[in-house]
Amino acid sequence: MSMSMSQKILAHHANVDSVRSGQLIMADLDLVLGNDITSPVAINQFKKFGVTEVFDKSKVAIVPDHFAPNKDIKAATQCKMIRDFARDKEIENYFEIGKMGIEHALLPEQGLVNSGDLIIGADSHTCTYGALGAFSTGVGSTDMAGAMATGKAWFKVPQAMKFHLTGSLQKWVSGKDVILHIIGMIGVDGALYKSMEYSGPGVASLSIDDRFTICNMAIEAGAKNGIFPVDQVALDYLKEHNMKTPVIVEADEDAEYEEVFEIDLSTIRPTVAFPHLPDNTRTIDEVGKVKVDQVVIGSCTNGHISDLRVAAEILKGKKVAPGIRALVFPATQQIYLDAMEEGLLKIFVEAGVAVSTPTCGPCLGGHMGILAENERAIATTNRNFVGRMGHPGSEVYLASPAVAAASALTGYITNPETVKENE
């Protein structure tokens, strides 16, 4: 029976020859992830199993990133609980402050993701690792608990949607614009329960960071996962970060797709999602004059080194507009170090940007840049729901690092093309 790429990975891990969409299967996992919000609930569930050890100490990853470095006493208590659990169970991939990064940037960087892997995480953006050809998806805390105890999880096999990419992106257009364009086109439930599978000659032109961003926001279209084919770009990344031999899984030629979309990357414009849903998109040409109070560059969506490079290119030798607060959050310590060595941090600080240690921070309205009532932020994060970055009366506009950086210079949502043209 012909299968999509996602279906094949699920079949391999369920030890069956083939699966069909809608089928419920039990499958073996390569990695189980939790953070400082979801792990405490999962640990309480885990205790009910009556087992003393996790199924495999090398296949559980716990990352304190949401309210860490500890935001307040409650956060400190939660972080302490997961730290103690990690120590007690000798979990190899627990990342303390100083080594920590935002989970979805950290795990691939640390070589914990291989192509062909099956990964679950108690965090909805676990779908990010599809960039490397893994099947990864977000689940609830009970799932994480069961997975830590047994190394297994059940799945309902998803149908697939195909996004056939051609052409290549224009200067100042990135993976963020691609995924915002797609979500704007299909809606926040446009891929409900399905796999978003990418293919076509346009894939080769997308950097691995673009692919991480595109897969990261699959959940914002309701999808179960997003996934890219394993090409040279992915293999190069895997070789640099991962000791394992890559597993290459390809969709069958005659795999069934519920829908096929043709996307010419060269036609995509810088895109902004207006409040309060990621599918409320407009191209930069349709935005009009939107004043902002805060600019946030970072998160698991856009805190990669290439994101910081683009922002620095725009901010270099310039100043953040008066009255605007601009913040940069490198997603991991390694990215922080690279940005330092490349001189990017200097560019940010000289421009008047606050640079933070890696954390989720303002992305979920946690800490480090919360909005007051009637304030407005442009952010490279992935959700702009009501109150996502603070007060329920505040607003978040989602955009790429290029648009965010250009907006920091003017105080209005700004087309990066115009900033560079005016030089």
Partner: protein, 164 residues
């Protein structure tokens, strides 16, 4: 395993916030959660529901946040099965993980009105509206999911597996 009861009928996109509003999430006590179940769209639900009753809804049931409190409130209120045209993804998982049977069957959703008495056979996936005499076929759960539901969810199910 069977479910048998009268139907409560709801529309599209019933989200986890109306199933159990966030203002009640400061407790994880199942009984207390259940006492507020559906109150923002159906104040009478908690007064009318009887053990074994069935919930029937249109598309995208359980959308919104990933709170496990939502299926827990429905189950503890006495609902023995939810039938919908489609479910939001994480709600679907969470329901099965806590032992609340849920079935996708658009035909049955069309053919069941509020108050109809419905019988469901989980082994075969057969849904019968006893009030109208019309039956519908949904995809039955595979044995391991049936066992998970019989064991009241993932924790007990895996506990048994581990013990073996």
């Amino acid at each position: 395993m069977n479910a048998h009861g009268k139907a409560f009928r709801y529309g599209d996109n019933v989200d986890t916030d109306v199933i159990i509003p966030a203002r009640y999430l400061n407790t994880s006590d199942a009984k207390e959660l259940a006492s507020h179940c559906m109150e923002d769209i159906d104040k009478e639900f908690v007064n009318k529901v009887e053990e074994g009753d069935i919930m029937v809804a249109n598309k995208n049931f359980g959308c919104g946040s990933s709170r496990e409190h939502a299926p827990l409130a429905i189950k503890t209120a006495g609902i023995s099965c939810v039938i919908a045209s489609s479910f939001a993804r994480i709600f679907y998982r969470n329901s099965i993980n806590i032992g609340l049977p849920i079935l996708e069957c658009p035909e049955a959703v069309e053919g069941i009105k509020a108050g109809d008495v419905v019988d469901i056979d989980f082994a075969t996936g057969r849904i019968c509206n006893e009030t109208t005499g019309v039956c519908f076929q949904s995809e039955p759960f595979p044995p391991f999911i049936q066992e998970m539901i019989a064991n009241d969810g993932l924790v007990n199910y895996l506990k048994k597996e581990i013990a073996q």
